[in-house]
């Protein structure tokens, strides 16, 4: 953390900054050291002497890339050496009163991941990691997380804590399944279902907005209770109505994949990003729109001002309650839309509590992504990757218990809010009702 002295140069001489010193943060090097040590202990206690093969293209790809095979012990210990070096470098940076830049953290993470994957594959029954499948699966697990995270980013940025992402996703999944089933047809059903999902998300958000903005009920309480309400409602209707009439009400036509010409043939990332369904393409657009919207448009400026300092926003003529109300609703629409992915994109039918905590991982992504749409998307991708890595590892028969991979997003988030990963500072007014005369 540097002292904010550069701006003070503009002030008149009497308004110079106070004398200052530098507050050192040892969190990064300490975290690095702990992770490096943990990996080293893991590699030492369970030695895997085999080779690890990384497959870089799938069988039906136009462009084939040869597989890469790495020697287990050599790679892992080289990585450990690199990680140690980075840790030392980070410590040196802090000692020199400098911050540890983000790219160092990213490089650290990538090297750590390579080490871990190599180690895991080297000890597996089939020491081959199919990267295309791993990545594509990760993306599809991430889709609802990303929608949920964008919902969380918008509503927290406008000052309303949204614990009800889970409920909004679930409402979207339920509604889209029913609407798409009733309408049927190859294209019309799913598309109308998507819009219906968005509307159902808005309805849940309305309740959140009404209770927290109009009645000043604690936003966390409303969120928690809303989740229970939506779970109860959808489960009740599922058992009572959907299950007996599954053919009519719960067999939606699934969205078809639309490969984008040329782009979908790019090795590795082509199949991952450009052989997807409509929801995923819509997601790309929404991510970009939310990012540009938040930081480069009037809408975003006002939204953020309301979340940071509602009184100030009020004094320049921004209607705080209305801004919060509509943006929480918009956020609900995004989450509801994303919820449709469960039924129309992935599973193909609604099931009780099928979101299974995705809303909470999305919430984790919001925090880990520091309330920034791009970072939150990346966090959601990381979490999706972690759960799919678990799938892949259990398929190739790796010795790591899958539960520990599944835990990763949650543990990482706890570390993040505890301040071990980056600086976590949310919108200043999030969670606080705005009461005016």
């Amino acid at each position: 953390m540097t002292a904010p002295s550069q701006h003070h140069a503009t002030a008149t001489p009497t308004e110079q900054a106070l004398d200052s010193t530098t507050v050192l943060s040892w969190k990064a090097p300490i975290s690095f050291a702990v992770i490096t040590a943990l990996l080293a202990v893991l590699f030492l206690t369970t030695r895997h002497s085999g080779d690890a093969t990384f497959r870089l293209s799938a069988g039906n790809d136009l462009i084939q890339i040869p597989e890469v095979t790495l020697n287990g012990p050599v790679t892992t210990w080289t990585c450990i050496a690199l990680l140690t070096a980075i840790t030392v470098a980070a410590a040196a940076l802090v000692r020199a009163k400098r911050r540890v830049p983000l790219w160092v953290v990213v490089i650290f993470a990538v090297i750590g991941l390579i080490a871990f994957l190599t180690w895991a594959a080297a000890g597996a029954r089939t020491p081959v990691i199919p990267l295309p499948g791993l990545l594509a699966g990760a993306l599809s697990l991430s889709v609802p997380l990303i929608f949920g995270a964008l919902c969380g980013v918008i509503s927290e940025r406008v000052g309303v804590i949204n614990i009800a992402i889970e409920g909004q996703l679930l409402a979207g999944a339920f509604t889209s399944a029913v609407v798409a089933s009733v309408i049927g047809q190859q294209w019309l059903g799913p598309i109308v279902g998507l819009f219906a999902a968005a509307i159902s998300g808005v309805l849940v958000a309305f309740v959140l907005a009404a209770f927290s903005i109009k009645y000043f009920v604690d936003q966390v309480i409303v969120g928690v209770v809303l989740n229970v309400l939506v779970i109860g409602l959808t489960s009740f209707l599922f058992s009572q109505v959907l299950a007996p009439n599954a053919a009519l009400l719960n067999s939606p036509p699934r969205l078809q994949r639309i490969p984008i010409p040329i782009l979908s043939e790019i090795p590795l990332i082509g199949p991952m990003f450009f052989r997807q369904t409509l929801i995923v393409y819509a997601m790309y657009v929404i991510i970009a729109a939310v990012y540009i919207g938040l930081f480069h448009t009037r809408w975003g400026l006002r939204l953020r001002s309301v979340g940071e300092h509602p009184t100030a926003a009020d004094t320049v003529g921004i209607n705080v309650a209305r801004t919060r109300f509509w943006n929480v609703s918009l956020a609900g629409a995004i989450a509801g839309f994303g919820g449709a992915f469960f039924t129309l994109g992935a599973v193909g039918a609604f099931n009780k509590e099928m979101t299974a905590g995705a809303g909470f991982i999305a919430l984790a992504a919001v925090i880990f992504g520091q309330w920034d749409p791009i970072r939150a998307t990346l966090a959601a991708l990381l979490f999706g990757f972690a759960s799919n890595l678990q799938n892949t590892l259990s398929v190739i028969g790796s010795p790591v218990p899958s539960e520990f991979m599944l835990m990763l997003p949650y543990v990482v988030t706890i570390l993040a809010v505890a301040g071990f990963v980056g600086k976590v500072r949310g919108p200043a007014a999030a969670g606080k009702p705005y009461i005016k005369a």
Partner: protein, 513 residues
């Protein structure tokens, strides 16, 4: 632009904050709205600015009747306001703050930041401000933030500008600069409403003066009116704040503070190498403009600050970096600056608040149980002794008036065996009757041989109570001077100028005699 308010009435429940207030401000004049704290000045301006809806009355601009649904309408009508607490988004840049609410956009609805920057620069140049449009507001000093507020108002072509207690956070020098800006604005034909309770400022810039008391207009005055006239209008009776006190009976040095430094979370030295000492039976008053490290100094004394260097000794015992609990147990009484935030639990009863800082031991707690009978007796006794006006000891403290809340805090702190009393802004927001009572109790404490540190931003409180005065500026001690030091000297010291007479580096002992 001419502004006219007719018969504005604003009630909060049974409280009438504004009672049929009439006010006319001509174009190109600086009109002072003078009144004590709580007289209803800010409420009136918030009505004018559309933040509150008046229960009765009309607002006219250039004789046109106005209907403001919110601040947006008021701004469109040409009203701008520089708020007492700046209405700036700390994490936005200056340009973003200035454009917020009336943003210009480019193609595809993207924000036109370049235009906003140009606007900031243009207005800055016009008034000789030096404000970087891309600086984060959070990083700017208070004086500059106020200029951003002014730019914000001007960028909307405000023709009526309201300054709500703008000098509260400024040094005398910055205040002078602000006065100059106001005159400059007046030259351009804007009408200016200047809200204050400081007579000196009023007489310096005002063209006309309206005095408000208890929500009513009690009179108009010309700037040529004498202080005495204005003052009696404002308070309604002569104010006598000198406290009867004897010469101090000084004992040995009890509190010794050496090289105390407090670092805030971003690394600024908010208290910078402060050394002083206080003797038994002496009041040391810490003077200074708000926000020059006094708050942090008192917090450091009672262990509420975490990043502290230097030493604090009380009767030879080292208290540095001890927990609050240990420091209180060493006999330190503390009256915090903000009683509703730090001094009381508003939802607790008066009785519970009276045992708040002795919640884990005798006499209030035995074997883990709160001694409710003892507490009730104790509370009744203290309520009587300190003249706390409350329906009963079970009334929630948050429902008492400011003065009575402060008496509860004082009763709690003075009911312990003290070796040091630290009182920060002991009479802020307290009615006149309670002020006298509180001052009397502080002097009694001193006369009982307890060293007392009083922090106050009010010079008269400082001079009324102090045996010695320590002036702080930007975290440092400017000097420690005798209690009868003239106001002009103190004023200069509060602006950071060392007193010429007492040498360039006054020692803690330097001015004790």
């Amino acid at each position: 632009m001419k502004l006219e308010l007719r018969g504005i009435t604003k009630k909060f429940g049974s409280l009438v904050a504004n009672d049929h207030i009439d006010l006319t401000v001509e174009a190109g004049e600086i009109h002072c709205l003078l009144g004590e704290n709580g007289a209803g000045k800010s409420t009136l301006m918030n009505v004018l600015y559309g933040l509150y809806r008046a229960d009765e009355g009309e607002i006219l601009l250039d004789d046109q009747l106005q209907h403001f649904e919110g601040p947006g309408d008021a701004m469109r009508a040409g009203i701008g306001m520089v708020h007492q607490h700046f209405m700036l988004i700390p994490v936005f840049t200056v340009a973003e703050n200035v454009m917020l609410g009336h943003e210009q956009t480019r193609t595809a609805g993207l924000l036109d930041l370049a235009a906003a920057r140009a606007k900031v620069r243009e207005i800055s140049d016009r008034f000789g401000f030096d404000v970087d449009p891309d600086a984060l507001v959070d990083d700017l000093p208070v004086g500059v933030q106020q200029r951003v507020e002014i730019i914000k108002a001007l960028s909307r072509d405000a023709r009526v500008l309201v300054f709500d207690e703008p000098t509260a956070v400024l040094t005398p020098q910055e205040t002078d600069e602000l006065m100059a800006i106001m005159r400059q604005l007046k030259e351009t034909g804007a009408s200016i409403v200047f809200i204050t309770h400081k007579l000196r400022e009023v007489r310096e810039v005002a063209d006309r003066i309206t005095v408000v008391r208890l929500g009513k207009v009690v009179g108009e005055a010309e700037p040529t009116a004498t202080n005495a006239e204005l003052a009696s209008l404002m308070v309604g009776r002569a104010v006598e704040l000198t406290v009867q006190k004897e010469e101090p009976d000084l004992g040995e040095e009890a509190l010794q503070v050496e090289h105390l430094t407090v670092v805030d979370p971003v690394g600024q030295l908010v208290v910078n190498d402060v050394s002083f000492s206080v003797r038994r039976g002496e009041v040391l008053a810490v003077a200074g403009v708000q926000g020059n490290g006094q708050t942090e100094l008192t917090e450091a004394l009672v262990g509420l600050q975490s990043r502290v260097q230097g030493t604090v000794r009380l009767d030879g015992q080292d208290l540095t970096r001890n927990s609050v609990r240990r420091i209180l147990d060493a006999g330190v009484g503390f009256v915090p600056e903000d009683r509703t935030e730090d001094g009381l639990v508003g939802e607790f009863s008066v009785a519970e608040n009276l045992m708040l800082d002795r919640a884990d031991g005798e006499p209030f707690v035995k074997a883990g149980n709160v001694q409710r009978g003892f507490l009730a007796e104790f509370a009744k006794e203290k309520v009587a002794e300190f003249d706390v006006r409350t329906p009963g000891i079970d009334t929630k403290a948050g429902r008492l008036s400011g003065g009575n809340q402060q008496k509860v805090v004082l009763a709690r702190e003075l009911s312990r065996d003290l070796n040091l009393l630290v009182a920060a802004q002991p009479t802020r927001g307290v009615d006149v009757g309670s002020i006298e009572f509180i001052h009397k109790r502080i002097i009694e404490t001193r006369d009982a041989g307890v060293p007392v540190v009083v922090v106050s931003t009010e010079l008269d409180e400082v001079t009324a109570l102090a045996d010695r005065i320590m002036v702080m500026y930007r975290g440092k001690v400017v000097g420690i001077v005798p209690g009868d030091t003239p106001r002009e000297v103190l004023g200069l010291m509060m602006a950071g100028e060392r007193p010429a007479a007492s040498g360039d580096a006054p020692t803690p002992e330097g001015a004790a005699a």
